[in-house]
């Protein structure tokens, strides 16, 4: 597969690994923010290849993991309503809300359907005119423009039974919140590749400028991660802090202006609750008034009930990068992929899930 296979070549990986090991001396705690990066790092055993002075920690970049309990409870409340079809990305199916999951509700007869694209949800709306289709809008800035486009497409087709429950979140504000909390000292940031495809490189400037932390925007193949680490090491060793793009085949400094325009046409920033972090101002997306007839939060009287967080679950600390899964009492015994307690274990790119599934073999 073009532009994928070449970026997995083992001969080129060896070269990058050698360079990193030769040039890296200073301690470097590098945080990857994006769950997709976490998966690549674990899937390819990247940490094993790095020298001991480099430590990789995972941040809250898994949009599933950071979905607040209450938000999931809202989705579940909607699923229970008559004549409502929930359309969702597969990621959300098994995430525990306060009391249950969408998967369990589905087994009980709720109409919950997995889709690959918001366009599939629109097709369901067209095919089921007497039902209301609520699409669960999760994801960061990569996904939000696609949902915005779907709203505009639904409007163009005059579809009146398509709704979006916007649970979208924005990355830069939450990274700022984590850095401001001062809980974890990082020496470099692996910046999300596909979020940056949309928003470009400038939204990350404040990290290098105000916090003095090197940033490199990385792609998702193993060579991309290794290149990113090599570039971060270079910055750390030479005392620079800049925003650099490693993922040059996908990311332009100005981002995708059309995607940004569409996203801003349909959404505006609003407060959002991040699991384990709490409410971060202007870190979520709300549907604008002009499109409120597509807003599930307005169209339906949603009562999510009282939220309940399971005891012992430290997903919040793990999402903030101050603890790792082995630090959690529940990890591997009460909390496993078969019987997950918190979202970090459910999501295929959650930190706990990555640790559990991939481990690091002998």
């Amino acid at each position: 597969m073009r532009f994928i296979t070449e970026f997995r070549r083992s001969d080129l990986a060896k070269g990058l690994i050698a360079q990193i090991n030769q040039r890296s001396h200073a301690p470097a705690r590098l945080m990857e923010f994006c769950g997709g990066h976490t998966v690549t790092i674990f899937k390819y055993g990247i940490r094993q290849t790095l020298p001991d002075n480099i430590e990789m920690v995972s941040g809250p970049g898994c949009p599933i993991c950071v979905t607040a309990n209450t938000d999931l409870d809202k989705a579940i409340a909607l699923a229970k309503m008559p004549q409502v079809i929930i359309a969702t990305f597969g990621d959300m199916l098994k995430v525990p809300g306060s009391h249950t999951t969408l998967q369990e509700l589905k087994a009980d007869g709720a109409d919950v359907r997995i889709v690959y694209s918001a366009l599939d949800a629109i097709a369901i709306a067209e095919g089921n005119p007497t039902s209301s289709i609520v699409f669960l809008g999760i994801g960061f800035e990569t996904t939000a423009p696609t949902i915005a486009a779907s709203v505009l497409q639904a409007e163009k087709k005059r579809i009146s039974n398509y709704y979006v429950l916007s649970l979208h979140k924005l990355c830069p504000p939450v990274i700022r919140a984590i850095l401001d909390s001062g809980e974890v000292e990082i020496h470099g940031l692996v910046c999300p590749g596909h979020v940056s495809v949309i928003i470009g490189s400038h939204p990350w400037d404040f990290i290098a400028r105000d916090y003095g932390i090197p940033c490199v925007i990385a792609g998702f193949e193993p060579l991309d991660i290794l290149q990113c680490v090599a570039m971060l090491v270079d910055q750390v060793e030479s005392g620079r802090s800049e925003v650099e793009i490693a993922y040059r085949r996908g990311v332009r400094p100005e981002g995708n202006e059309e995607a940004i325009r569409l996203m801003e046409q349909v959404f505006e920033p609003g407060p959002a609750a991040w699991r384990g972090i709490g409410e971060v101002p202007d870190s979520g997306l709300k549907i604008r008034k002009e499109y409120q007839h597509f807003d599930a939060a307005i169209a339906f009287d949603i009562d999510p009930g009282q939220p309940y967080e399971p005891e012992g679950c430290i997903c919040g600390d793990i999402l903030r990068g101050i603890k790792t899964p082995p630090d959690c009492q529940l990890f591997g015994n009460a909390c496993t992929p078969q019987y997950p307690v918190g979202p970090c274990m459910v999501s295929s790119e959650g930190t706990c899930s990555a640790y559990y599934n991939y481990g690091e073999g002998p």
């Binding site: 073009r2 080129l12 997709g36 599939d120 290149q227």
Partner: protein, 76 residues
């Protein structure tokens, strides 16, 4: 997050395209990349093209890796 994969645009109709990767074809939306042309590689995320892949940059990056590999050489 954000699985997006590179696929080749085979045909375009209005704001939609047929894109192909490894023998799989899928209908995708070009709402976010209206300037895409047949023959472009685009990054597809949830059925939408989010970016046109810069093939030159891709080649440059691989060339860079090859240089590093030929200089580095140490078996790790």
């Amino acid at each position: 997050m954000c699985l997006a994969i590179p696929a080749l645009v085979k045909s375009i109709e209005d704001k939609e395209a047929e894109a192909e990767i490894g023998g799989i074809t899928r209908r995708i939306s070009l709402w976010l990349t209206p300037e895409a042309k047949v023959g472009d590689y685009v990054l597809i995320h949830t059925g939408y093209a989010i970016s046109i892949l810069d093939q030159e940059e891709a080649e440059e990056t691989l060339k860079l890796f090859e240089e590093i590999a030929s200089l580095g050489g140490e078996e790790v």
